[in-house]
Amino acid sequence: MLVEIQNLRVQFPTATGLSDAVRNVSLTLGQEKLGIVGESGSGKSLTARSIMRLLPGNARISADRLAFDGIDLLGADEATLRKIRGGRAGLIMQDPKYSLNPVMTAGAQIAEAWRVHRGGSRRTADKAALDLLTQVQIRDPERVARAYPHELSGGMGQRVMIAMMLAPDPELLIADEPTSALDATVQAEILRLIEDLVSRRGMGLILISHDLPLVSHFCDRVAVMYAGRIVEELAANELTRAKHPYTRGLLECLPSLTHPRPRLKVMQRDPSWLT
């Protein structure tokens, strides 16, 4: 198993004591594509970032087991974690406008990711960066490598981000809403690119999104999170047979082109979902 999570709990200190952001989450992941869906604040990003131990400084994390390829992540030292971060697991975030360093060129940022895990000279790394840019289907890699993030479009920036995270050839890719900040047409291109790279390299993928249809179309398995817990986990092609009222509610409030409804349903939340 690439990732094993048992009873993960993430808490944040607040004025009234510790508040649970993720509760009793258990997951396993092999070389497959797992989608995590849920609304803002449901804990999907925190769950995924726990795997790389990239939580905010004030977060308290505990779990019965949190392992990457058999390595216990809670007991691991910084050096071990640094080898996993970037080296064996990559993270793609929402908006390249903020997630790329604004004062470094795209090429330098990719080359840096390459060098820190593979070593080698600056020139080798620069060459590798150009090659990676070609792999993420950028037509003019030389120009993009020299460009600063603000000179790139959103789709272009996200390709740079993907190239950077793929540089050390990781086994797991976490994509945290990788297309939410992009135009609809570019979204499809980026997702196709991720899908292509992931299956070609035989990587595991965790795709975080709040777009249910997209995730079910794209992933093998879907976990639905609500208020810090996984309320339902099912195969992507069985999404229509979801049992949990929250998942059902989400599906029912989607507009449809083929079966238009005069009025969309509004989800009725039940306090019992919280327990």
Binding site: R85, G86, M93
Partner: protein, 333 residues
């Protein structure tokens, strides 16, 4: 490029405004420079003659036009106090200020920037709290209090620091002026006795000034760094598996370096100008001491001249910071 030209072009305009305002304040002052020259008990005909000689009987716009005319020829008038041309005085006094402020800013940067960076990195730790208290004190304690206390402790009580002035009286006039900065001149001359003596005189005033400046630099660096460390690109850098040092200096600090240049330039300009009090406390023969002396003697030509020089320094440093900004930040290039 056009913005660069615009900021260069704005310098003469700002300078003109500065001259005008200083000139008007000088003429509106309730001190009569004529009496300062002729004395309190001079007969009325002498006073009238001096007034005519100084051109003070002409209407204000005419006086200003005459002053501007002289200024364009590099003539700032004569100082009543020293009876030298003001330009000569400034050329003699300014290097001492430059020496003091430059040593102070170097110390302030070397100490202040790392302190701010580490305090931000360890935000909320004991180190951070100490840094914050120390830098708050540096900004709150008046320079003259700090200066006097330092003199009292290190010179009067402990006797490990030399007293006021730029150099001991015994060494005065030994080093021929080249740059006007004594320590530098002594080194250039190879006069090591004077070098060490002048250097030891530099320690206390430059440390007092540096502390004041360091406090500001530390606080700004810390605030910039905290903001930068909260950026998404820091999460990216961590996700790449970079070392803490590299994340801190290459990614977080790299993003504030440009803004910091502006802060440092203004801090330096502030030292060149704000040394007035420190120079008075330490009897440092710099532009600040010259300015205070001239003010107390209603020596308006000297006051105007010194103000202009300080204003010019501010403008030039500001302009340089502006240019550096455009050069260093890819987003505004």
């Amino acid at each position: 490029m056009r913005q660069t030209l615009a900021s260069v072009a704005s310098v003469p305009l700002t300078l003109f405004g500065l001259i005008l305002v200083t000139f008007l304040i000088g003429r509106a002052m309730p001190i009569d420079p004529v009496i300062a020259i002729a004395g309190d008990h001079a007969p009325p005909d002498v006073i009238a003659r001096v007034r005519t000689e100084l051109g003070l009987d002409k209407p204000l716009p005419v006086q200003f036009a005459i002053y501007m005319g002289q200024l364009l020829h590099g003539n700032l008038g004569n100082s009543v106090m020293t009876s030298h041309p003001v330009t000569e005085d400034i050329a003699r006094f300014f290097p001492a200020t430059l020496e003091l402020a430059t040593v102070a800013i170097i110390i302030a940067i070397l100490v202040g920037v790392p302190l701010g960076v580490i305090a931000a990195w360890r935000q909320g730790s004991r180190f951070d709290h100490v840094v914050r208290v120390v830098s708050l004190a540096g900004q709150s304690v008046p320079v003259f209090v700090l200066g006097l206390v330092c003199l009292l402790v290190f010179y009067a009580k402990l006797g490990i620091a030399p007293g006021t002035g730029q150099i001991d009286v015994a060494y005065e006039g030994m080093v021929p002026p080249i740059t006007g900065m004594l320590v530098l001149d002594a080194a250039l001359e190879g006069d090591w006795d004077s070098f060490w003596n002048a250097g030891s005189h530099l320690v206390l005033p430059s440390l007092v000034l540096a502390y004041f400046s360091m406090a500001y630099i530390t606080r700004m660096t810390r605030a910039f760094m905290i903001e930068s460390l909260a950026g998404e690109y820091i999460v990216t850098a961590r996700a790449k598996g970079l070392s803490a040092t590299r994340i801190l200096w290459r990614h977080a600090f790299g993003n504030i370096a440009v803004r910091l240049v502006t802060v440092l330039a203004l801090a330096y300009a502030g030292l060149l100008e704000g040394a007035v009090i420190t120079e008075t406390v330490f009897s440092w023969p710099g532009i600040g001491l010259y300015l205070t002396g001239s003010l107390l003697n209603a020596d308006m030509n000297a006051v105007l001249g010194a103000t202009l020089v300080i204003g010019l320094v501010y403008l030039v440093l500001n302009l340089l910071a502006d240019l550096a900004y455009r050069l260093l930040d890819p987003r505004v290039r």
